[in-house]
């Protein structure tokens, strides 16, 4: 009798223990940043799925898709600006590199996506190291000037090469097999997956020795040097990574939108670089979630909702004006940006909760 009782007790204890462990594991999992990235990716994929079911308009999905592309650019920029305190104005030019490599590899030379992707990254690396090596040798703040010039030249050269670039759906094939053609919705999933991977990579990079070296460099170059951080190496690394991200984004942009007319210099302009910069600043420079939030404010809201309102449709520069004002206000008065705002709200909410609890149960005197 007692044996059975004991067995029963120990069983239930074991069960409880394993449940507790499971809950702990679950809690740990939830707290990991990767989990939230995965949730984000799933939500983004759900949007596309819902649109297929006819619940969401396709223009909304397109807006989300192009915003996600800019989120990729923003992640690289976040690493550059928030972690090594370098600003670049050449983002538009580097995005253009990705787009044009997609066009030439897929439409002109008939290569597969994988090879095009590698070509885009190779171009980015070469240009990043060449430009970075020269400009970073002088002084950090000259990077913006040099990249601004490079971007204008890239734009000029590319539009002289080919003014309007266009990819047909039949030219986007996986592994060179003609029968597997990738439609826009597949590309959308691809964008989400790439964004997820890059978020994961960026998060780990930020918490690695590399990220800490970059932060040290940002806060004090002299102190970082004293600790043996090579300024040139880490600045060059951050700059090249940001260009690679921009190039990947350009590549995906070309696959997703499939048509870029550069004749009026409409797309890859200084405005685009400035908007990316603005979004990262508004989001709070150092945080991945802040950057993505900033991108959704600058690009997302504009494309998702404001395009339908006649006032914004007639005055497309209004959003630029708004972005500029936000940037200046954030830099001068609230350097933490959106990420800081979220953190403060969270604390405020927690203290409010605590107060309510104290109101009900009385003060915890322990």
């Amino acid at each position: 009798m007692s044996n059975r009782m004991n067995k029963y007790l120990s069983d239930s204890l074991l069960k409880q223990e394993s449940e507790r462990q499971g809950a702990e594991l679950w809690g740990k999992l939830i707290k990991r940043p990767t989990f939230s990235f995965a949730v984000f990716a799933v939500v983004m994929i759900l949007i596309q799925a819902l649109s297929k079911a006819g619940l969401i308009g396709s223009s909304f999905v397109n807006a989300v898709g192009s915003t996600l592309i800019f989120c990729i650019v923003g992640l690289g920029f976040c690493l550059l600006l928030g972690y090594s305190a370098l600003a670049s104005l050449g983002t538009a030019g580097f995005i253009a590199i990705g787009s044009y490599s997609a066009y030439y590899c897929l439409a002109e030379w008939g290569l597969t996506i994988g090879i095009g992707f590698i070509v885009a990254i190779l171009f980015a690396v070469v240009i990043g190291i060449a430009v970075g090596y020269i400009s970073l040798r002088i002084e950090g703040i000259y990077l913006a000037i040099v990249t601004l010039g490079i971007s204008e030249i890239i734009k000029e050269l590319l539009s002289a090469l080919c003014d309007t670039i266009k990819i047909k759906g039949t030219q986007i094939t996986l592994l060179g097999i003609e029968s597997i053609k990738l439609k826009t919705d597949v590309i959308y999933y691809g964008i989400v997956v790439i964004l997820f991977i890059l978020m994961f990579v960026t998060q780990n990079l930020m918490n690695s020795p590399t990220g800490r070296a970059m932060l040290a460099m940002k806060n004090s170059t002299s102190a970082a040097q004293a600790f043996g951080v090579s300024l040139m190496k880490y600045r060059l690394m951050a700059f090249t990574i940001s260009i690679i991200y921009a190039s990947i984004a350009g590549f995906m942009y070309m696959l997703y939108i499939r048509y870029v007319s550069n004749s009026m210099g409409n797309l890859f302009t200084l405005s685009m670089s400035l908007n990316v910069l603005g979004a990262v600043i508004i989001g709070g420079m150092k945080s991945i979630w802040g950057t993505i939030g900033g991108m959704f404010i600058i690009y997302g809201i504009d494309q998702m909702f404001l395009q339908d309102i006649p006032f914004f449709n007639e005055n497309p520069t209004f959003i630029t004006l708004f972005c500029g004002i936000l940037v200046i206000v954030v830099v001068m008065f609230y350097p933490g940006g959106l990420a800081q705002l979220a953190l403060e709200l969270k604390y405020k909410l927690a203290s409010r909760k605590q107060k309510i609890k104290e109101g009900i149960y009385g003060k915890d005197l322990g």
Binding site: I153, L270, I281, G324, V327
Partner: protein, 287 residues
């Protein structure tokens, strides 16, 4: 070329007094050009008058930017200041279509002082009066400003502020006023540059001065921001290179696409050889 040299001086002045690269220089000067074009096209005022009004407006905009933004943001680091000027570009580009009706037009035709077909014929060379006026204005302005910098009390204060703002303040120089006036003068110079510049090209949007501005910055890097004359010489070198490569392109037309890339490459190689600029000194910072 004249426009480029004036713009270079404007950029240098702000770099020296406010310790930042002013990316909004191009758009501030574009405001001056837009004021001039708007007044002239709407009311038909003579060009001299509208040019002066445009320059004045740019001066006021420059002072306003310093007083409203940079005076309050003195404790922002140099990257923050750079970003503020980038934000200013967005603001001004956004505001221009709301203020100027001209900006809604597709492209405004060129806006010369004297019609482009009139000019001097010396042998085989034809020189437009417009170009001559532009060169004259540039030379007079630059001569005046360098003379003032070297000889006048204002020039001494500017140089003192540029070398060390805090010490200059201790010596009884009102650095706030000096900085504000520098921003104003930079804006005015930019506006003059823009008005000379749009004599030959169409005014299509607020980014009209971007190329000039990029050349101005490059000139600053090439000449070294340490002195006032270095960047101006740098600008002369860059525009000289442009003309040289342009001559080369006449013989080899396939090169013409690569023209600006070649000039850029040469400048970058020069910078690689002399990282502090041709006229620069190495600055040693104490911690």
């Amino acid at each position: 070329m004249c426009a480029g040299i004036l713009a270079t001086f404007a950029v240098t002045l702000i770099f020296k007094t406010s310790y930042t690269t002013n990316f909004a220089q191009g758009v501030i000067s574009a405001i001056g050009a837009y004021v001039a074009v708007e007044l002239s096209m709407k009311n038909g005022y003579p060009i001299w008058m509208v040019a002066i009004v445009g320059v004045l407006v740019a001066f006021i905009v420059g002072v306003a930017i310093d007083v409203l933004i940079f005076r309050n943001g003195r404790y922002v680091n140099s990257l923050g200041k750079q970003i503020i000027t980038m934000g200013l570009i967005s603001i001004i580009i956004g505001v221009i279509p709301f203020i100027f009706s001209v900006a809604k037009m597709e492209a405004v035709p060129a806006f010369p002082f004297i019609h482009l077909t009139q000019g001097l014929q010396i042998g085989e060379i034809f020189i437009q009066y417009n170009t001559i006026i532009g060169v004259a204005i540039t030379i007079i302005l630059l001569a005046a400003v360098f003379l003032l910098l070297q000889k006048s009390k204002w020039g001494l204060s500017v140089r003192a502020t540029a070398s060390n703002e805090i010490v200059a303040g201790m010596m009884g120089i009102n650095t706030k006023v000096i900085t504000a006036i520098s921003w104003g003068i930079a804006g005015a110079f930019g506006a003059v540059a823009a008005i000379i510049y749009i004599g030959n090209v169409t005014l299509s949007n607020g980014y009209v001065m971007t190329t000039t501005q990029i050349n101005a910055f490059l000139a600053g890097i090439l000449g070294g921001f340490a002195t006032f004359h270095g960047p101006v010489f740098g600008a002369v070198i860059i525009y000289g290179l442009n003309i040289l490569v342009g001559c080369l392109c006449i013989h080899m037309p396939e090169l013409s696409t690569w023209k600006s890339a070649i000039v850029y490459l040469i400048v970058m190689l020069l910078v690689l050889w002399k990282p502090q600029g041709l006229f620069g000194k190495k600055l040693v910072k104490k911690v």
